[in-house]
């Protein structure tokens, strides 16, 4: 009965979200705002992964920019090659300016759309898995893991700034087409928005299944008592690697969508600051819930655009303050506040749920015997 109701609620929730994303948003938002909203959806996709790894798994992933960047750059490389091929050039425009006449070897495979898509799905996930095994098997956790992941984001950003064949600090930009569709056409940009919305729903569905499964329960157990889980016969490293890799995959997909939607990908999008910015929305929305991270990420990004248009410098302070208040006083985020209110309201209604009666003494002859 409760199960059936839960299932109905889930479908209703996904239905409402689909109506909102696919029906309402394209109608009420201007073309410009819809493009911005599509960008926010990319952040939301990253946030869902962070919610899984940090909220449920207790891994403070301070370097999701790495995977976001990997996905974004791989997609951008393909778009640049495709544009160059359309013009009949051997190399993308920025390389011509830099004096590079031959396409570097590591660019070549990204001419294939299929290779690009597979690489976006596989490479960041595999890197996260390898990294996770190395780190978690050695029992690196807590602040050490956070610092390590952040250092990685800083290192990748610095590495990319120095790569002329990847656009240096400008990154890759001015994409003309997306798998054959010109990006100047508003209809095609709208299609990109729909793809982002669809991916967000899919990512939420995957995260939901993971959280509700036995694996999800185990992940929470690892978060709250990693050593205890070991004594039950599990290797917690394996459990953590899965959540970390899934979070990396989500970030990579978001990055791959971000590049064509926003029109550029650059080291400034993947370093320490953007990596921390991913976390703020998750913390404010409620990191242990399914929807909290996604809604928090969208809300923060939206507020940022809204306020920074008017008060560019004050917003940074306000954002920092909000982060401190939430982490310090409402660790469960806004979702936690909502849960608190419903609990209060329930508590006001007396005798809603009577205390269960304790068990009678078990029969000593039968109980505990192994059959």
């Amino acid at each position: 009965m409760r199960n059936l109701l839960g299932r109905w609620q889930t479908w209703a929730g996904f239905g409402a979200a689909a109506v909102l994303l696919f029906g309402l948003a394209p109608v009420v938002l201007s073309e410009f705002r819809l493009g911005m909203f599509a960008k926010f959806l990319c952040f939301a996709i990253v946030a869902v992964g962070i919610g899984l790894a940090w909220g449920r798994g207790g891994m403070l992933v301070l370097g999701q920019g790495v995977f976001f960047g990997l996905g974004g750059y791989m997609m951008a490389m393909h778009l640049k090659i495709a544009d160059a091929q359309l013009r009949g050039d051997a190399v993308p425009d920025f390389m011509q300016i830099a004096g590079i006449r031959v396409l570097p070897g590591y660019w070549a495979p990204f001419a294939s759309p299929l290779f690009t898509l597979l690489a976006i799905l596989i490479v960041p996930t595999a890197i996260a898995a390898a990294l996770g095994f190395g780190v978690f098997k050695r029992r690196v956790k807590g602040a050490y893991f956070a610092i390590l992941s952040q250092a990685l984001a800083a290192a990748l950003a610095i590495l990319l700034v120095g790569q002329t064949s990847l656009g240096g600090s400008n990154g890759l930009n001015r994409f003309q087409t997306f798998f054959g569709f010109t990006l100047n056409d508003p209809a095609n940009r709208r299609m990109l928005y729909f793809i982002a919305a669809g991916v967000l729903l899919a990512v939420l569905a995957i995260a939901r299944q993971l959280m509700a499964s036995r694996y999800g329960e185990l992940l929470v157990a690892v978060r709250d008592g990693e050593e205890r889980v070991r004594f039950l016969g599990y290797d917690p490293a394996n459990i953590k690697v899965v959540a970390y890799s899934v979070a990396a995959l989500f970030a990579a997909i978001a990055g791959a969508l971000f590049a064509p939607i926003v029109g550029f990908i650059a080291p400034s999008q993947i370093g320490i600051l953007p990596s921390i910015a991913f976390l703020i929305g998750v913390a404010i929305g409620g990191r242990t819930t399914l929807l909290g991270p996604a809604l928090g990420a969208i809300g923060i990004a939206w507020a940022q655009t809204l306020f920074s248009e008017r008060f560019p410098s004050e917003w940074t302070y306000a954002q920092g303050l909000l982060f401190i208040i939430v982490v310090g006083f409402f660790p469960a985020g806004l979702a936690g506040l909502g849960a608190l209110f419903t609990r209060r309201r329930r508590a006001q209604r007396p005798a809603a749920a009577p205390d269960p009666v304790p068990d009678p003494e078990p029969a000593p002859e039968t109980a505990g015997a192994r059959l």
């Binding site: 694996y215 929470v220 205890r228 004594f231 039950l232 016969g233 000593p364 109980a367 015997a369």
Partner: protein
């Protein structure tokens, strides 16, 4: 032959059954020998109490057997060497333990706690699916530890004693046949102690149970055999009466155990 199986000294099933054999176990921390050449032989159906003054190395013995701290010597469970294996491998071989402070997963329900304990050998396919229904073994464990009515409550709201029982229940569904319990009745009321003792008797009949305990009344009431540790070494072993009569034990306990001292038999 009695129909009811009870723990007795030396085990209740004779040779050729499950056993845990500790030989020359030594644990060193920076040159200090916390455990120094400990020998223990435990048979199925023996409810063994491990006692000794503070710092005698009781918990360290359990830590070494379960792989938490590295030790030298030999620990074999029915012929399989445990020393040097990883914590989760030892757990899978059927050695379970509890901790001085109950360490159940407080955010998860009683049922979820037990389900996790029962699932170390699940495949990824099973893991990625939802829990459906209650495994018979878990249902049985819930009855044994008396928490059936609280199955859907978060473990964090349980009373102190109930948390310890849940820990024991987790060991049962984990299918451990060697149970190492570190001060299971610390902080319990007299009534809870009584219930815990009866619980240990019930589950101890078909398993090897080692209880580290400070509470001498509890030990006297439920132990079938006792090992006394002092300064990392075994100084006496035998039945409760034998150990109590041992002058070495009396010497070690003189003054240190005061009111609950071993020689002031009620």
């Amino acid at each position: 032959m009695s129909t009811e199986l009870r723990p007795v000294a030396g085990g209740n099933v004779g040779m050729g059954t499950e056993y845990l054999e500790v030989r020359g176990l030594t644990v060193e921390f920076d040159g200090f020998k916390a455990v120094d050449g400990v020998d223990l032989t435990l048979f199925q159906g023996d409810l063994r109490f491990l006692i000794g003054p503070n710092g005698a190395g009781k918990t360290t013995v359990i830590d070494a057997i379960t792989g938490l701290v590295p030790g030298t010597g030999s620990v074999s469970k029915s012929g399989v060497e445990l020393l040097g294996k990883k914590v989760h491998r030892i757990a899978r071989l059927g050695v379970g333990r509890t901790f001085q402070t109950a360490s159940v997963f407080e955010k998860l329900t009683v049922l979820q706690n037990l389900d996790i304990a029962a699932g170390a050998d699940r495949s990824w396919r099973t893991l990625l699916r939802r829990r459906a229904g209650v495994l018979p073994a878990i249902d049985e464990a819930l009855t044994t530890i008396g928490l059936t009515a609280l199955a859907d409550r978060p473990a964090g709201v349980l009373a102190h004693g109930q948390k310890q029982w849940l820990e024991i229940g987790m060991l049962l569904v984990q299918n451990a046949d060697v149970l190492l319990l570190d001060e299971p009745v610390a902080g319990m009321s007299a009534e809870e102690r009584e219930e815990t003792g009866n619980l240990l008797r019930r589950i101890g009949a078909e398993r090897t149970v080692v209880v580290v305990e400070h509470d001498m009344d509890f030990m006297r009431a439920f132990a079938t055999s006792v090992t006394v540790l002092a300064r990392g070494q075994v100084i006496a072993e035998g039945t409760v009466a034998e150990v109590q009569a041992n002058p070495k034990v009396q010497e070690v306990y003189l003054g240190t155990a005061a009111a609950s001292g071993i020689e002031d038999t009620p």
